[in-house]
Structures are given as structure tokens and as C-alpha cells.
Amino acid sequence: MSITRRRFLGWMGAAGMGLTVGRPANAAGNKNFSGYPESIGVLHDMTRCIGCRKCEAACNEINKLPAPEQPFDDLSVLDNKRRTDATTYTVVNRYDGIQGADGPIYRKVQCNHCQEPACASACFVRAFNKTEKGAVTYDASVCVGCRYCMIACPFYVPAYEYNEPLEPRIMKCTLCYPRLMDGKLPGCVEICPKEALTFGKRDDLITIARERIRSFPEQYVQHIYGEHEMGGTNWLYVSGVPFSALGMREDLGVTPAPKLTSGALASVPVIAGLWPVLLTGIYAVSKRKDKIAAQERRQAVKAALTQASADAESKLSKALEQAELKHKRLLEVEVKKAVEEATANNEEENS
């Protein structure tokens, strides 16, 4: 059946899809998406990071997060590995005794702002949004709190307010999206004394990362983490030691998150199309079987009946014959009797 866009819109509205339709088909037709061209990112050069935790402090202040029990200039916090949680968008971890490195290496952890965010792909209310700036933002006003995003995130970033009874939110770095909109730098980038965090267009950052690796081959490993991981992230990393030594998964693969489930989801319409046909078909077939069975039964019954009646008649007629015969004999006997009597009477009169 032919679908006009008008009717389409009608349905969309009806189903509350709330999607902007009328996007050029060819754009939708091409399945190869390279992300927002102007999107910005941050390059974390771990050979520069000195683990001063200034970024943590700035982040905490800018996002108005509760103050931690240990102050930010207390570096003993670095003694144990931490992850982002409901009150911290970013943490710095220290990694000691890695061979090939003189002294400890520091790594900043925060949302990597994937080009194809797993959280967004997983969210069933579209609470997450990949903005054209590159930041992955979160909208608590629709969030149901199912925490599927936390399951989906390969970097263990989103955190949840487990102690909020009624209005728990997902907590995660926003790349300081509001500040970006005001043309300001993300808090951590701005404060970093050593420019271990370089801020710029993702494409430029990759160029710079490559340049650094080429110019100082003995200082870097030949890999830009985040260039391809999980389809690429807007937060990129270069390091002097293998990333796996810094607790960064190097086995994540390059498949963007939406692709991981799209196959399964694509089979859903197939079911909707195929099952009714098959099932109704089976139903019809079984019905038909019943019908035929029923008809056969009816005929059988009829046959049986006729047979039965025939037998009955024949029995009857036989019975009648016998009855007649008996009757005759009786008659003869009577007659005989009568005659004898008569003769007997006659003899009495004569004597």
C-alpha cells in the first residue's frame, strides 16, 4: 500500500513518535556516519599528567557536587583505585611500577563522550543525547532510572544516586556542556596546569596526537586510545606505556554500540510480518483437518444408521410370519374341537 508523508506524519503523531520526519532519504540511505564534523573533544596526554587532582577540584566546584570527605589537595586518595560515582564526575588514578615508565603514571577517568554513545543507544526514553558539540548530555526529566545505560557503558562511567528514594538521577560528566555553550572551556581543561588536557576539534586533536607520537617516538606508544574504540570517542588518550597497563580495556573493539543491538532489533519487524502468516496458516490447516475429520464422522454415522434400520425391518417381517403360522394352527385346533363336540351332541340325542 502506498504511504503518503501526510498519513505518515499522522501515524507518527498518533503514536507519539515525536520525531523530525522529512529528512532527506539519501542521507538516511547512507549507513556510514562519521559523527558531527565540528564536534570538539579533549586529548589527555598521560605523559604530561602529574596527578595534582586540580581537575577533580574544578569539576566538583563547577558542577556544584558535594565536597568529598578528604580535600582535593590530599594526594593520599590516589593510593587506591577509584571510579566515577554519584558525587564525582571525574577521578584521577595513579599507576605505579609499570615497566617502561620511570615513576608513576596518572590517568584521568571521566565520560569519554563516545561518538556513538552506548548509553544513548540503550536508553529507552532517549534521556541521553549526543550533541553536535560532541558532548553526551543527560536529561533527568524523562529518566525512569532503569540503569540500563550503566549496563551498556563499556567504560563503567555512568553512576546512580542509589540513596535517592524518589528522584534518583544518573550522574556523569557533561563535558561542561553549559560552559561550552558560553564559549568557555571545560573546568578540568581550564584548570590543568600542565596542559595534559588539550581542548579542540576532535579531528585536530587526532592530528596533534599523531604529530606528538611521530616527533617523540621514544616517549609514546603508537596508539591513540579513543580514535576507534567503540566507534571512537571525543575524549582521546596518548600514553607512554601500553594502555592496558593503565586499566584501560584494549579489547573493546571498534563496533559502535548501536550496531551491537541493531541486528536483534531488526529481526523484530520480521517476526511481526512473518508470525501472523505462519501461525494463521497453521491454524487454518489444523482447522481444515478438524473439518474433514468432522465430515467423515458424519458420513460414518449416516452409514451406520441405514445399516441398523435395514436389520430391524428384516427382523420384524420374520416375526410376523411366525405369528401368522401360530394363529392358523390355533384355528384348526378350535375347528376340530368344535366339530368333535358337535358330533358328540348328536350321539346323545340318538340314544
Binding site: V144, R147, N163
Partner: protein
Amino acid sequence: MMSEEAIAGNKSLFTPFNLVAGIIVLMGVLLTILRFTGGLGAITNLSDNNPWGIWISFDLLCGVALAAGGYTTSAACYIFGLKKYHSAVRPAILTAFLGYALVVLALHYDVGRPWRLPYPIFVQQGTTSVLFEVGLCVFLYLTVLLIEYSPAALEWLGLKKVRNIVVKLTLVLTIFGVILSTMHQSSLGALFLIAPSKVHPLWYSTYLPVFFFVSSIFAGLSMVIFESTLSHHYFHDKMDDTHLKENRHVTFGFAKAACWVLGGYFVMKVFGISMDNNWHYLGTSYGLWFLVEILGFVALPCFLYAVAVREKNVRLIKWTALWTVLGIVVNRFNVSMIAFNWQLPSSERYFPHWMEIGVTVFLITVFIIAFRFIAKRMPIFYEHPEYRDTH
């Protein structure tokens, strides 16, 4: 709503069942209060690394899988035209309906803002999410089940007309039921497709949706057998001759079917390993556990069913049904808990808090109470005298 009725029921008579149930319900109510005053943190061991716990693993995944009896039975009876299973349909439908209702109820405890559960369907649709698909299907299927179940209630209430209209819809509803079940049963498996880096390779497979769907079939069948066993124990008086007569058919027919599906499932599991070439993992301790699952809880019941069916051994069938049901629980727990986050150090792994388990127990009790309430009053195990042979 069900729980209150149950409590009301408790007051009336003090049978041991009612006492135990009463206590559990009381505990449940307390935990509920804790949950909605203190948040998830107050009564669960959930953490940022382990956002999903036993409420998802058992209440959602197992709940839905074990409620699959509804669509399997009705499909067998109405679509495949196996009339002799007719008496099994209503109990199955009831189980399914209550099961799904329970699942939804459980989700109210798990999600952060329960009153927003309709959001994905009515407010803002995240169509790329597998969870959206699950939500949509569960919502629709719950409705379908309600309608499918309603005749029983309507007969009880004596609303002839409505009841007859509803009964006319049976076929459509059944087909819808099967479609929706296929979708969301498989999608529950597809939920984990997005986290290949977190689920152990032995359990992660692109076949996950298929595995979940197929396993739901024999889960449903076995559940019907198992549940009918219990019903015979407790509601024998409620059962009419047809039910008792047909029950044997049901048991053997379903056992045969379950056995066959189990076989197929086992084969597919093996394909799963070979497709991803995960043989070498079988040597590890996870591999051992995986073998326990597919040999002990898939191959074994498959074999036992076969033996039982051949030897016309009802006892064995019933045991095996129970075993298979256990197997499903094991499988769902493996995928969603044991194999999930397998790379994290044991210190960061999840183990349920007793209060979480408490809530689950509470919900199951509510289910039983509700089932009991309905089975005692409505024509579930018998046909309503006024409606004989009207289907």
C-alpha cells in the same frame, strides 16, 4: 492491590499457610516502605559497577521466562488445534497473567521512578533501545493476557454478553500473544548484546535472543507441568472430570514437546560456542560452570523427559519439569549476574542483600495468594456449568 486482599484473607482464618503468608507479606510491606524512603541503596547491594541485581535476574528474566506457559499452551490449543489441551489453557493463562503482573510490580521496586514506567511508550520513545522493545511488548502482552484471562472473571461475575464477545477474540489474541512473546522473550536476551566487553564470552553470543526465546518455550511447558502438579495437590476438589481426564494428555504431550525443544536448544548452545570459537574457555572454571549448565540443566532434563515419556513415568516427568525450571533460573542468573562483570575483581562483584531476596520472596508470595484467591473462586480448573462446550 493483591496483597491487601491477601491480608484481608489472613484475618479471616488462621491456617498455617495464611500465617506464613501473612508474616512474609508483613515483611514485604516493611521492605517496601524502606525502599521508597531510603532508596535502592537502603535495601540492595547494587553498585555503580553492578546496576542490575536479583530483581532483574530473577523477578524480570526468570519471571517472564517461566510465564511463557501462557503463550505456549494457548498456541498449542487454539493455533495447533490440539483440543485435548484445552483444560490446561486457563490455568496457564492465569499463571502467565499473574506472572507478568508480578514482573511489572517488581519493576516498580527496581527502577528509580516507577511512576514513569509508561514514559518510554507514551512520552519519549528510545526506539534504538532493546529495553524499549521489551517494555512495549510486555505492556501489550500484559493487556492481551488480561483479556485472555477475563472470561474466567466474567463468568464468575456472570457477565454473559461481554464474556462471549471476548471469547470470539480468542484466536486473534492468541496469535498476538505468540508474536509479542517471541519478541520480548528474545529481546530479554538481546538486552545484553550491548555489553560484549562485560559478559563472559561463553554466555555472550549474537544468538542470545534466540537462546532466550527457545529456552522460554520449554520453560513454559515445564512450568505448566510443574504447576499442574501443585494444583492437583491443592485444588484437586476444584477440578472437573474433563480437567482430570485431560491432565494426563497434557503432562505427556508437554513433556514430549519440552524434551524435543530442549534437544534443539542444546544443539544451538553448542553451535554458539563453535561460532565464536570459544572452546578454549571450557577449560577454565567458568567453562566448567558453563558445562554444568548445558549438560546438567539442558542435556540431562532432555534425556530424563525422553526416558519418562517412553516409560510413561509421570513422577519422573514432574521431577524433570521442576529440574528444567531450575535450569532456566540458573541460565538467567548466569547471563545476568555470574557471567556479567566477570573481569572485575571479586571485591567489586555483586551478591544480593537479604532484603533484596526478601522482596522477591514477598512478591512470589503475593503471586501465590492471588493465584489461590482466583483459583478458589473462578472457573479455572473446571468449566463453568453455564458455558459447557461453548468454546
